[in-house]
Symmetry: C2
Subunit: 120 residues, 2 copies
Amino acid sequence: MARAATTSDAFNAIAEPQRREILVLLRGGERPVTGLARDLGMTQPQASKHLRVLREVGLVRVRGAGKQRLYGLDARGLRPVHEWVGGFERFWSESFDRLEEYVQELKQARQEGPHDGDDQ
Amino acid sequence: MARAATTSDAFNAIAEPQRREILVLLRGGERPVTGLARDLGMTQPQASKHLRVLREVGLVRVRGAGKQRLYGLDARGLRPVHEWVGGFERFWSESFDRLEEYVQELKQARQEGPHDGDDQ
DNA sequence: TTGACACATTCCGATATAGGCATATGATGG
DNA sequence: CCATCATATGCCTATATCGGAATGTGTCAA
């Protein structure tokens, strides 16, 4: 099996730097493909492909406007990502030493070893 | 060119679901490879490989403990991810309709079209 | 030293990516 | 209907993944 598809979820979709840049640009409002491509220094086909991925995971939506197709941000799909990562917040907001202490406290509190059946 | 290496940054590293699960488990404290593998229903080599990736991007660190190697969380690398995604917070906390309004207001405020030179 | 246990690495195959380039599709204005 | 601009797709290559199975490496205990 290969890596999970870039279109499998938001996590995979935003793993690509250029797609992240596209999303950032779209915060400023809807943009046509060519505009994005130019601003990001990529070719038009590249932009279209990235936008396709973003559209498939639902992070952007399209709207025809004459010849152009305006892509707009739909950040709702980023919320789960934010929440998942946020679950680690206290682990980086404290220094390592204090973190270790914290973990130790947890262990003590549970009055047991590192974990049940971690061996073998 | 292929996709960016999974070890290129935290974004790519956490794109893999199993690696995310590993990180979650590690919030409970240090764990040996076999323990993680068993809890996640994966083989030991698989766990080792994923842990290697996580270690290369700095999301976990290892510590030898006799025969075992205890892997621990180092969530600092997740902070940039959290901040990046957080930059989109207001775009999902508001409904779409209101969001559109907001974007329109921005445009009006700048008294110009969607963007400068978005055509061609 | 040897055996056993914990873990890492390697080789394989299947798959899918991102980039480059050419070209097809779509809508618009004459 | 045609030329044109804006986008989308198709094709090809190089690369790297993840999974599986086998095997290498390291540590401890007797």
